[in-house]
């Protein structure tokens, strides 16, 4: 049960993402690919920022998304570093507070494809 299973199909005009992955549930996994190959979209699907219809995602035995259930982003124990700095322009007290909640797994959005 110590792994991440992800199946997503995303169909947008001019862009298709079709993944069926099983990743180790611990350690560091790097994801690379050329520009526009869907690295960011996959990470957004994992984080729950994008909702792939009929997708499936389970993390270490816990189902985050299937046909019936959908765990909203704020309930997923993850950390996400956006490609550009996404600090709140009005100060970062909340940021510090929410960090207290702790990270269990983290996603770092890759630089645009190199």
């Amino acid at each position: 049960m110590d792994n991440i299973t992800a199946r997503f199909k995303v169909n947008w005009p001019g862009f298709t993402l079709d993944v069926d992955l099983t990743l180790p549930g611990r350690g560091v996994t790097a994801l690379f690919g050329h520009s526009g190959s869907g690295k960011t979209t996959l990470l957004r699907c994992l984080a729950g920022l994008e909702r792939a219809p009929r997708g499936f995602l389970s993390v270490n035995g816990e189902v985050w998304q299937d046909e019936k259930c959908w765990m909203p982003t704020h309930k997923r124990p993850l950390g996400y570093v956006f490609q550009e700095a996404s600090l709140f322009p009005h100060g970062n007290e909340q940021l510090a507070l929410w960090h207290e909640a702790g990270f269990r797994c983290s996603a770092v959005e890759p630089d645009p494809g190199y």
Partner: protein, 225 residues
Amino acid sequence: MILTDSDLQAVWLTVRLAGIVTLILLMLGTPIAWWLARTKAWWKGPVGAVVALPLVLPPSVLGFYLLLAMGPNGPVGYITQTMGLGLLPFTFWGLVIASVFYSFPFMVQPLQNAFEAIGDRPLEAAATLRASPLDAFFTVAVPLSLPGFLTASILTFAHTVGEFGVVLMIGGNIPGITRVASVQIYDHVEALEYAQAHRLAAVMLVFSFLVLLSLYVWRPNPKKG
């Protein structure tokens, strides 16, 4: 004192009306503006158009329909009568409800613009940091759109102060209850009391100018928070 007692009464009534309407619209308009700024539903367009209607409708048209709705044979009138509240036309609260409709776009549109300007990213970042949508709204969206809240409140207040047609249709001209400043000026002119009309009109002119001046000169900076 340059204003007579009845003038002061009208000014106080106007300020009370505009203040209450602004508070009600802050509570009603904020969720609607938020929805309009975030939704991708197809009926966003129709809802936006309905919200903007009071901008282009003659106040007499709006007042006429509200009078019918709140009257003894209207749906609102039926509800208020069965609740034992009596009828709303020609009462202060009837005026409040009518003004809420009349000033709706002046609250919703600046707020909607402010919410749209935030974009998705700060809210996504908040969600990845465990903030529930309500949390994110109050700790991220509200501080970032504070200038929008100020603009919307000031515009709503000032627009309600400037209301005339709807007041005449719904409230009539009852001293201390529905006779607001703009109606009082109309009365003075009708009675050929030009000197009194001048004084009250000048007060309104100066007030309106100061309100707009504050909007154009003073821009709060959300980044200082």
